[in-house]
Symmetry: C2
Subunit: 330 residues, 2 copies
């Protein structure tokens, strides 16, 4: 029985070109298509993907771990990953971990059993010591989240800086009692943003108060709960760094509901610059994260690990940056 | 070399139970796990997914076609599909078609080359005559969108009713000049909603005007454009049925920007009841679509096609319904 390599040899083309033609990928010239089709015909070769996979051990599929599909930040991140994947003839297996350690470990078996060529992590639930065991089976790229124990390639923004400029902005507006939200205890990006918050507070000689730290606030409904807690305080903060536009939108919504004025009674700063940041009233001041670009880079990084050098897209050199977008909530 | 069937026979269990144990799926008893692991050990069987696939022709993977990952309606739909898939040990290959016919055709090759067990369509770009050819290779389930020429199993809501109750609501509020938006020319759900709109308008003896029909309005930015066009009209409509909360949010935003009062100058009704429907000011009156439940049912329908009867989840009998949620934009 003929193999894909036989087809490539007869057509005088590379294996990857043959694979692209067989899978009807874009950006293959008509001439190459004709050569491959002729060779396949002569060799009586019918492409069955599973048979191909067995021989090549390549699936042209990348698993993407996403904690929550309904958080728009991750939709835009996935959109960026998908744009580069499609352009290069790769497909995405989307694995929603729901912030669950066991679910995440089950998905890691995909690379172990060779069902995907690699894994892109956009969050991480298990300790690195648990995850490390899977690294020998295939490449792993991290984006958005990271772990200080890992040395996997990653797309990482300066989140300490994000926490710093957000808090600094509130201080510059005259606030002294500033609260802080974080998504989860384990998250390294949350820890980095808190470090930035603490740096700015210290620099300004302001007191960091334990009761102003909201430790688990990841979505719109959590934001509403945070506002309710603030409303019940005797000594309320006058400003809050949220770490998420979803949380900020929940705070702004519940504040209007309870008659607390934003920004007069409570200044609110979001994070991400999701579309909702300009839909709320007042519109959200926020820290823009280039979610689409982070996704694109993560997939490019992955392609540089799984494709031969000549087929992989070049990596952009300039680092991705966080920036403050000033609107009306602060 | 031992096969998965050999393992099943030695363990005295079904093939699908063995497959679930090997892939670490949830809801398998410890006793069954032990039996499978013993049999695998005795037969010196190592599960390689591609080898398994070749023998069984099953991948336990379902492709889901999504037109736009960043539209929250589809995120919630995908979330519902994912919930049922995960519970039953299936994985999702997410295929973003970007409303493009060629991209969609390329993805259809996945089922032809046996890379997935079946396909769930949440939208459809190609004519049924083109798509029909792929139906012989594996099951296809449709949800959200449909095609009147197809006879594939589908999860379908009464969209004529949706168009009717939305328009009726605006008429009951005293409006006579009512505009209508649709997502795309080809979409059967858009056509059905327009039929409902026309029915309500006719019933009330109101004039349907061509210049009040906005034919391509699918997202937030399209909504802004629609409002700009309305603002430029000499004889403006006083109400608009949008077919999408994203479009409605864009209209409400741009209206505030241009000093047009919602609902006094222009009543706006959304569709879907996405989270943004309560984040805008005024909050959106909308037609609630149970996106998560639509997704769950579509995946259950698929499992009834790809699994043996005893393993497939039961199908709920009561139909899913659209309902109006009244807020402040009308």
């Amino acid at each position: 029985m003929a193999t894909i390599t036989d087809v490539a040899n007869l057509a005088g083309l590379s294996r990857s070109t043959v694979s692209r033609v067989m899978n009807n990928y874009p950006y293959v010239s008509e001439e190459k298509k004709r050569l491959v089709e002729e060779a396949m015909k002569k060799l009586n070769y019918y492409p069955n993907s599973s048979a191909q996979t067995l021989r090549s051990q390549k699936t042209d599929t990348i698993a993407v771990f996403i904690p929550m599909l309904t958080n728009p930040f991750f939709s835009y991140l996935l959109e960026g990953i998908d744009a580069v994947a499609t352009e290069n003839g790769f497909r995405l297996l989307v694995c929603q971990t729901r912030y669950d350690r066991k679910t995440e470990r089950q998905f890691f078996n995909l690379v172990k059993s060779k069902q995907v060529d690699g894994i892109i992590l956009t969050s991480i639930e298990n300790d690195w010591s648990t995850v490390r065991d899977y690294m020998s089976y295939g490449p792993v790229v991290m984006c958005n989240e990271y772990d200080h124990e890992s040395n996997t390639p990653n797309v990482r923004l300066d989140q300490v800086y994000g926490g710093y400029i957000g808090t600094r902005h509130l201080i510059d507006k005259g606030h002294k009692k500033i609260a802080f939200c974080q998504g989860s205890f384990r998250s390294f990006i949350s820890k980095a943003r808190e470090a930035g918050y603490r740096l700015a507070m210290k620099e300004a000689g302001l007191q960091i108060r334990d009761e102003y730290a909201f430790r688990i606030a990841a979505d719109y409904h959590d934001g509403k709960e945070v506002l309710k807690k603030i409303a019940a305080m005797v000594e309320r903060p006058t400003a809050i760094f949220t770490g998420s536009d979803q949380v900020a939108a929940g705070i702004v919504y519940e504040a209007r509901h309870l008659g607390i004025n934003v920004p007069e009674d409570l200044a609110v700063i979001g994070f991400d610059d999701q579309p909702i940041a300009e839909m709320t009233l007042p519109q959200l001041t926020t820290i823009r994260q280039p979610a689409h670009e982070i996704g694109e880079r993560a997939m490019k990084l992955m392609l540089n690990l799984v494709l031969p050098e000549e087929d992989a897209p070049p990596m952009p050199e300039e680092p991705l940056k966080l920036e403050i977008i000033e609107r009306s909530s602060t």
